[in-house]
C-alpha cells in the first residue's frame, strides 16, 4: 500500500531528526561554554536520541502536516495522490501518534485527526517524468508564529533584507525554539516569496545556495544572527541559528519582497518517491 509509505515518511519526519541537523546541534554543544545554553543543548541531544528508534515524536508539536509534491506528469497515480496524503495524515495521527492540530477557525473545534479545510497543506508542482516525489514537512506553531513578510522598496535591496531578518530574529528571541533554521524567500511577489521561504527549509543544514553571491549572503546573515547572543531557547549562548537558506525569484520592478519562515531546531523532514510501477523509496 502506497499510503503505508507516506505514513512511514511522516513517522520518520517526526521521530528522527536528520543527521545534518544532529551534527550541527552536536557542534553547537561542543563550542558552548554558557551553562544554561549547555543545559538546553544537552536536553536537545538527549531528546533526539530518544526519537531515534522511531517510536516517540521528538517534539510534542508535530505541527501542521505539510507536503510539497513534485508530480511527474507521466505518473499513473496523479489522480490518487491527494487522497493518499489525506488518508496517511489521518492514519499517522492515530498510529504514531501525532498531536491533533487542525482547528476550525470559526468554532474553535479540533478535528482530532489533523485534517480539515485546506489541511494537510499540499503544495503541487508539475514536473517532467513519471515519478511523484513528496516532501513531508511537519511545521510547528511556535516557529511558524514568528514568520514575517516585508515588501521592501528596491532601493532598500539586499541591505534591507539583512536588516529585516536580523531585526525579526531579535524581536522573536526564544519564541521560535532557537537554534533555528531560517528560510528566506526574496522576489516573486508576496505569496511566492513565502512559499520559497518555507520550501527552503527542506534543504540540508550546511548546504549553500548554488549561486555563489546568494551563498555569501546566507553566510553573512548567519554570522550576524549568531553574533546576537540570543542563544538556545533565548537564554543566551553562541548559537542562535544553525543555518540560513535563501531562495530567490525575479521580482516586479517596483517591489522587493522578502519573506522569512522560522524552523525550530527540530528541523523535521522526510521524502517519499513513488515510482510508476508502484515501487516506493523513503528517505530523509
Amino acid at each position: 500500500m502506497l499510503v503505508d509509505a507516506i505514513v512511514e515518511a511522516i513517522r520518520l519526519a517526526v521521530t528522527r531528526i536528520p543527521d545534518d541537523v544532529v551534527s550541527a546541534l552536536s557542534e553547537a554543544h561542543a563550542r558552548e561554554d554558557n551553562e544554561v545554553a549547555r543545559f538546553n543543548l544537552e536536553n536537545i541531544l538527549r531528546a533526539m536520541e530518544i526519537g531515534k528508534d522511531g517510536l516517540v515524536p521528538v517534539c510534542q508539536d508535530t505541527g501542521t502536516v505539510t507536503f510539497f509534491v513534485e508530480a511527474g506528469v507521466g505518473s499513473p497515480f496523479l489522480g490518487e495522490v491527494k487522497g493518499w496524503l489525506v488518508e496517511a495524515t489521518k492514519r499517522a495521527t492515530e498510529e504514531i501518534p501525532l498531536r491533533p492540530n487542525a482547528v476550525d477557525v470559526l468554532i474553535g473545534r479540533n478535528s482530532g485527526n489533523n485534517t480539515g479545510k485546506g489541511v494537510p497543506v499540499i503544495h503541487w508542482e508539475l514536473v517532467q517524468g513519471d515519478a511523484i516525489r513528496i516532501a513531508v514537512l511537519p511545521k510547528g506553531g511556535g516557529s511558524e508564529n514568528c514568520s514575517a513578510l516585508a515588501m521592501l522598496t528596491p532601493s532598500e535591496g539586499w541591505d534591507g533584507v539583512k536588516r529585516f531578518v536580523v531585526e525579526r530574529v531579535k524581536e522573536c528571541g526564544g519564541k521560535p525554539c532557537p537554534p533555528v533554521i531560517l528560510g528566506i524567500g526574496v522576489g516573486g511577489g508576496a505569496d511566492y516569496s513565502l512559499l520559497l521561504a518555507k520550501k527552503a527549509l527542506l534543504r540540508r543544514v550546511g548546504e549553500r545556495n548554488p549561486e555563489r553571491r546568494i551563498a555569501k549572503i546566507e553566510e553573512e546573515v548567519l554570522e550576524e544572527i549568531n553574533a546576537l547572543g540570543i542563544g538556545p531557547m533565548g537564554m543566551g549562548g553562541k548559537t542562535t541559528a544553525l543555518d540560513v537558506k535563501i531562495e530567490v525569484a525575479h521580482r516586479h520592478p517596483a517591489s522587493f519582497p522578502v519573506a522569512l519562515v522560522f524552523q525550530c531546531w527540530a528541523n523535521r523532514r522526510a521524502f517519499v518517491e513513488i515510482k510508476p510501477d508502484g515501487g516506493v523509496e523513503v528517505w530523509q
Binding site: 551553562e35 544554561v36 543545559f39 538546553n40 536536553n43 536537545i44 538527549r46 531528546a47 530518544i50 526519537g51 516517540v56 515524536p57 521528538v58 517534539c59 510534542q60 508539536d61 508535530t62 501518534p97 501525532l98 498531536r99 491533533p100 492540530n101 482547528v103 474553535g108 473545534r109 479540533n110 482530532g112 510547528g140 506553531g141 511556535g142 508564529n145 528571541g173 526564544g174 519564541k175 525554539c177 546576537l228 547572543g229 540570543i230 542563544g231 538556545p232 531557547m233 533565548g234 537564554m235 543566551g236 525550530c264 531546531w265 527540530a266
Partner: protein, 172 residues
Amino acid sequence: MAVKLRTPLSEADVLGLKAGEVVYLSGRIYTARDSAHRKILSLPSEELPFDPEGAVIYHCGPVVRKTEMGYEIVSAGPTTSARMNRYLDGILRLGVRGIIGKGGMDVEPFKRRAVYFAFTGGAGSLAAKSIKRVEAVHWLEELGVPEAVWVLEVRDFPLIVAIDAYGNSLYR
C-alpha cells in the same frame, strides 16, 4: 546548585529560588494553554476542577495515546509562554506559584509571588520521561487534546529557574 522541590509550592519555596538555578520538580502539575487559561479565568474559583493554591501550571499541549487504563503521555515539551502573558496576572492571583514553559514571559507579575521555570522547547520526548502518570484530564471534549488541562504526576522534572520572584530573568 540543584534544588529538589515538590508541588504544591509554598511561598518560601518560591522566594528561595534564584534565576539560573536547576530545579528537579516532583508532584502534580497542570497543563494549560490559551483556551484553558481563558476558561480558568472565566470561572469562579470554587468551580475550578483543581486547587490553584501553590499549583504549578505547565504551558504544554502533549501528544497523548489512549490506553486501556486511561491515557499515556508520549511527548510533552513546553509551548511558547508569551502567548499567555495576557492571563498571567489573573492566574497568579489565584495562588499559582510556578509556571513551566519556554521562551519567557513578562517579569513584573512574578515579583514576590511566583517563578517561571524553563524547560527546553522541542525536547518533548525527553520531558515525557519525567512524566509518570496522567492523573486526570479536564475539558478534553470541549477543548481538544492540545488545549485540555492534563493533570500530570512528574518525578524529578529538570527545569531552570528562568525568571525568579526578584525580577531577575535569563532571557535576552
